[in-house]
Amino acid sequence: MGLPCGTLNETYKQDMAIVRTRLQWGLLLVFLVLLFLLPKFLNDYLLSIINGVAIWLIAVFGLNLLTGYCGQINLGQAAFMAVGGYTSAILATRFGLSFWVVPPASAVVAGLVGMLFGLPALRVKGFYLAMTTLAAQFIVTWVIIHGGDITQRTYGISLPRPNIFGFAFNNETRYFYLIIPFALLMGFFARNLARTRVGRAFVAIRDNDLAAEVMGVNLFYYKTLAFVICAAYAGVAGSLWTYYLGVAHYEHYALMDSVWMLGMLIVGGMGSTMGVVFGTIFIRGLNEAVTYGSSVLSVTVPSMAGSAGASLGLVTLGLVIILFLIFEPRGINHRWEITKHTYRIFPFSY
């Protein structure tokens, strides 16, 4: 949290500010303008990658609140996304609800399911909790497959394109302008939550839950709240992902996706907003690169075709997470902070 030389925080408000100096405001504005001009310069393929990143970013923001700030392990984030996605699909097709109500409703339903699986968190932690959320992954998938006509079993549910005031979101550019504001707003909300009373309670629970309880933090309330918020983020992400793909299908929310989301947190650096952004971009970018690489490989080396692409992706991403865990457990964000610090005090070493 280094600030330029001579910038002193004299009030609590200044100390807590997310954007502190004029230069930071300027950079933020430039970034936002460039971000919203992006579709002018990029083709549909690159835009689709960015849209995917932005949707997953929302889910990982939620996971970061739960795992990064509150210290509760969640191996079932994709299951909560699936709940959000299927809720959206059912609401949009069976009840014909418009896009205004569907994502918030999905967030509520996913939040309730998250609360259910978060209940054991009061009594157990660590490995035990990881198992409960893993159970969520299997149980949700099973319910979807055996849900009869409501979830259409293994067929998935197709749903119409989102439509706001007669403006249909039917290509990558339009989706971009739909998804990016969502990601920005929810990212800001997550960052803001971390510096409120709730956020401080989360951090206290993460650092030592017994000490937090003794100091008057209501463990039951805050742990459940963390699960609800995390699952609600996943619900919104799942809703957008379902709208974006045009179909709700349980295979889009597999156990591996939950694992990758935790991997994004590890690679990026837990408990920091920038870490989430770095990690999500890095893992999804790497995934895309491996998919592209293996498609090239399968043309040049025909024996590598078929399952080789999928397995190559598993090996590469898994190895990357292993290497980060061993050599840089604090993630890319830590390196970024060091780089910023070095730049600030150049040419001195400290």
Binding site: P120, M131, L262, I266, G318, I321, L325
Partner: protein, 296 residues
């Protein structure tokens, strides 16, 4: 009706014994190293595939194929412990969980790369296929052999823990790392030993499972399913793992018998997880797990 019940009960018990052995592998590693091995399923798969290569491709005789698979999987376990988990000693629990999940992912990818993810079967079959008639109940001979082998493994485990010096060192380490070290136990060696033993046993169980079903990646899902057993038994208890294995095996078969017609099939895949969630809510440390007493 009674025959059907008995049939389900016996299949459940056979399944439960196998669950128990896999659960013991997980408990063994957890007790001595405080790491929950989520890559257990992939060790089973690796053992099964390696034995297939030894048996069918290299045309080795059965005992040699078993031995080759056990050595290879044991070496794999040793590598996992030395290369990936040793650097994590002293890191938070999330790091260990993520590490074993990543190992699971990498192993899965490597097995897919090496064997192509096809479905194989052992030729000649390891266990005789003909079912045996016991009174009115028909018992699959494969299941009988498999559970017999599992019981032998469990007895060996018990003997190892209660009667040998290495087993004593392992039990000591599980009580307290520092105390064990100060009494001359090499905790590092115990870590390596428990991974190797768990991996070798996984190879045997993997081969047994593969001969019951088929040699494919599906066996790996058992590695996760067995966590319900481990949770029910309590993370620290080996007898607990065996008892819980039997309970889950029998109740899973009972659920399959009675609930499947109601919900439309497939309850077996999810039933252990339902049990796990209920157990965690009402009995957080399982049947025989250690109650954690925490101080600030």
């Amino acid at each position: 009706m009674l025959d059907f019940l008995l049939q389900q009960l016996i299949t459940g018990l056979a399944l439960g014994i196998i669950y128990g052995v896999i659960a013991v592998c997980i408990v063994l590693i957890y007790k001595s190293t405080r790491v929950l091995n989520l890559a257990q399923g992939e060790l089973l798969v690796f053992g099964a595939f390696f034995a297939w290569t030894a048996l069918v491709v290299w045309q080795l005789p059965l005992p040699l194929a078993f031995l080759a698979s056990m050595v290879a999987t044991g070496f794999l376990g040793f590598l996992i412990e030395r290369l990936t988990l040793r650097p994590l000693i002293g890191q938070p629990i999330l790091a260990a969980i993520m590490m074993t999940i990543s190992i699971m992912v990498v192993l899965k990818g490597m097995i897919l790369l090496a064997w192509g993810g096809a479905v194989y079967s052992y030729k000649p079959p390891i266990f005789p296929k003909e079912p045996v008639q016991l009174g009115t109940v028909v018992i699959s001979q494969e299941y009988a052999w498999a559970s017999a082998l599992a019981i032998v493994l469990l007895v060996l485990f018990m003997y190892f823990f209660q009667r040998t010096r290495a087993g004593l060192a392992m039990r000591g380490t599980s009580e307290d790392h520092q105390l064990a070290q100060s009494l001359g136990v090499s905790v590092e060696n115990v870590f390596a030993q428990s991974w190797i033993i768990a991996a070798v046993v996984s190879a045997v169980v993997g081969i047994v499972l593969a001969s019951l079903f088929s040699v494919d990646m599906g066996i790996g899902s058992l590695g996760l399913k067995v966590f319900a057993v481990v949770l029910l038994g309590g993370l620290e208890s080996i007898p607990g793992a065996i008892v819980a294995g039997l309970i889950i095996g029998v109740s899973e078969m009972a659920a399959a018998g009675f609930l499947d017609p109601i919900v439309g099939g497939g309850i077996r895949e999810v039933f252990p997880w339902l049990v796990a969630v209920v157990v965690l809510i009402f009995l957080p440390y399982g049947l025989f797990g250690w109650k954690r007493i925490e101080r600030i």
